[in-house]
Symmetry: D2
Subunit: 307 residues, 4 copies
């Protein structure tokens, strides 16, 4: 057992299901603690660089967080003709905020996260993720339950909402941010041309969960578009669902995407591009079939991962 | 440790890199042996069903082999206006053959595999993969080194070639099927409107390998198109490269794809569709950048996974 | 990932507790199947050679089965002045039988095992474990539940009984062979100078289970002696309990052990020796304390591993 | 994946050999860092409590450190009729010191450890291991290479030396503390009735290493006694070798051990007792055979684990 093994004993063991696990060797433990809501680790892995791990699930890694955050933010932001007032629910590490702020149209970006300690830990240990976005004068950070905060908002006051919270786990803090009641609430708070996007779990390990989220969004919003993107550190293609009161992301021509990117001064992206915008909405038959079988979920009949 | 653990001790531990591994719990070992060339296991896993495992790498699983095999076969076959003479190099489990034979235009399908025992083991234990394709009168199975067989072919005698062999590993049996010399040979054997496709490893764990294969194909064929598809049991998006002497898959309109599918009597697919045909060729900036850095590889300067 | 990894993906993952697991790399799967009672694997591991695995637990390995079987058999057999009629409950792989037959005094050895298929599989694949002991004219193999068989025996008809069954798991086939009722039954069937021994699980991972077995034996037999031996493939020191109606193993002088071994023609052992006979009965304070806290168990209030 | 998995992703993966690994789930990471010499982690595991981990190997755990430290210290200390001047090489966590100080005869205890940071980290985070022994007026802590320090000692100035350093790994800091040259040096520094003891690695995973250490001690000291004790967190029985210029631990009657323990005011031990003193020196035939094959090792021809 030479050098290789000498530095390879710290391992993140992430169970995708009760029958499949991934082992990531860890080079360095930067932070490890427990907040009121969850366990938080910041580690440096060999294959994915710096990782934020919440309750044992890698949330972001420096190797591919741009894929995830660009895929989460830009399709929605570019589908809206002029997103000015943006709400982020979750997004503790600040990278969603970073992508949102790239859009010059943004005048106010409110980020509501439940867990102040996670925000503080990320602020301190993940500067390359947030790029000091927390200090941008357009930004307001609120520590509160996302749903409760949304309830208090004036109707029609938000252009784009981005839901960047942990997966809907039984007993976890997030599953009530994936229900029909919440989406109805959100729809009311959005302006007439408002839209929102949510992460929607794995397209393979929790396909039925992804499908249920899509069906739930579709039961509330006139335009509902599922899309999917491979995120390496999740070891899976990841689902997202965009719900819109007016504009349809699939009707946006590549030239218009390109135009809006230029207009808003956005360049140098890692994942998102006008061509990619369209690619991600194409749904293969095996997912289309899962969508057919799915039903909307409610507060009293929620969906949990894995499903 | 209740029932759960009682049946969960047989594990396939697949190292993606020296620092990341995947554990798949195995329900049943159906076959486990060693051929002249490699170790072969056929196991039933909990999450991916029946799996063919060669030298410790899952090659196909009943849960998602259709994604892989449809993604490998149909873009090339449909880009060719009338594929009649098809050559498959590798493809031991018979599922590539199964997809090829769906095209009514095919008059002859030759499958050349190095390892007779793998073919026999798959024939016996994986009937749902090959669907008796080996018995189709259009089919000829040759047990030989793929490159040697191609050398003996008359020039211009093949319409579509599909390279479905194991990854280019140092010391493994396949790396000489990923070099400029081999692609030049192949080009000579293809008809004037001929084309070929090859699997091209992971877009994440061996991105540089994928990029090198693309650059190598591009150095030989006038049309070279990399594409990528998420294959769940590989825990990664997977790369493919299509090299063509004439037709460009990206110029094929969805309606034409649809028309050809109908004309050839192909329906009920799991993954491939006219919309998907275009999705898979969109390349995100992070891959485009890897392509820029890559160089073609040769027999004397090959590329190995992981790279 | 060089040669090392190429042949190292088949793994036995044995959970000692829900929080500690051992991974053994497997070179070869020799047999893998399911009987009426349990899952059976015979594999060749790198570190322990051939292993019999029942329901995911290594039962015997060619690297150290002599330690286990000698430790199980000889202390009891040598404590008895002239063991003639021996009963083995369990012991499917035939190695306990092999050790018993080494004692020239033995006129009859009956082995009762529940699972005929396990016996057949071991007979075929583990010749070095049983050494053709099944063919010895003194031997009788009975396929039956051990306790039921013991019930039918005439009183006082056995000199030494050896209990070599799987751990007392909830829902498993063996836990009723570790209770006061069973030990009382056994005591009746033993001759006046009869004695018995049972494996008694790990001294660390199931210390309370070991202690409960000891206390239960002590509640039935005038002489009850726990002992413990490190068995490498169990990754733990292993407990045994000897219950005797007359002779005390701790009163047997090393010279007498040596004399009996010679008289019975036993030599060339791997683990057991006159010096070792005494070593194994020494109990450290931490085990003595566990014994103080333990209580005898009954059919209606049994003990299960881990405990 | 309910609560169980929620808190189970941090894992220590300890390779015993390239083909066997142990996974310990970690509840809490208390400290994780890198000193000039090694990587240091202090973690709380589910099964072994607080653990000091150096370069990925568990050195001590709160669950069983008393077994290891009592087994290391007391056989040597009690074999010496009146140990007054004691030297500890290594022993960073302070538990060896704690056991040494229990002997009222001790007037001076010098602990020499290479790695000041490890000592500081243990002092801060493992109070139950050192029990403030560092503050005892008889104690002196020296930060220096153990061998260099011993070289400077006056001849005949030490009664008992205890070598409590990491395993002899190639490239590691400790292998020159296991050679003939070092033992000769040590012999010179010991008083005429002096003795020493060293940890001597696993009796299974590095049996030849244990045997070589024994042979090396035997080539220098008139009395050399190997002994072995099961240490649960090492997943193995552990070897030790005692080298003595006069007294033989195997000649010490249990009554004399008891008498000395009382005289020195030592009680309430977890593992060591007069009966255990003798148990641990009994060597089974399989170890005796390994001893026969082993040869002494020197600085220029050292032994490394695993061997």
């Amino acid at each position: 057992m030479a050098e290789g093994s000498k530095v390879n004993w710290r391992v993140i063991m992430e169970w995708q299901t009760p029958n499949s696990a991934v082992l990531h060797k860890v080079k360095r433990v930067i932070y490890s603690g427990k907040t009121k809501y969850q366990e938080v680790d910041i580690v440096e892995t060999y294959d994915f660089g710096l990782c934020l791990v919440l309750d044992g699930k890698i949330q972001s890694s420096s190797a591919d967080e741009k894929i995830y955050h660009e895929a989460l933010v830009h399709p929605a932001m570019l589908t809206h003709p002029k997103p000015s007032r943006v709400l982020i629910v979750g997004g503790g590490e600040g990278a969603t905020l970073r992508e949102v702020l790239k859009h010059r149209t943004v005048e106010s970006a409110v980020m509501v996260d439940l867990d102040e300690e996670v925000v503080q830990v990320c602020k301190k240990h993940l500067p390359e993720f947030h790029m000091d976005s927390f200090e941008d004068p357009r930004v307001k950070i609120i520590i509160e339950d996302g749903r409760k905060y949304v309830e208090r908002l004036p109707d029609g006051s938000i252009d784009v909402t981005i839901i960047d919270v942990t997966d809907p786990l039984e007993g976890g803090p997030s599953y009530l941010l994936y229900t029909m009641e919440f989406y109805r609430l959100l729809a009311r708070k959005l302006s007439d041309d408002g839209l929102f996007v949510t992460q929607a779990t794995s397209t393979y390990y929790s396909r039925n969960c992804f499908a249920a989220i899509y069906k739930t969004v579709a039961s509330v919003f006139p335009v509902a578009r599922p899309y999917h993107v491979f995120v390496p550190s999740y070891m899976s293609e990841w689902g997202f669902v965009l719900g819109s009161k007016a504009a349809d992301p699939m009707s946006l021509a590549p030239e218009e995407v390109r135009h809006r990117l230029e207009e808003r001064g956005i360049g140098g992206l890692d994942f998102y591009s006008p061509e990619i915008h369209h690619r991600i909405f194409a749904i293969p038959p095996y997912l289309a079939r899962a969508f057919e079988l799915a039903r909307p979920v409610t507060d009293s009949n929620p969906v949990f991962m894995p499903a």
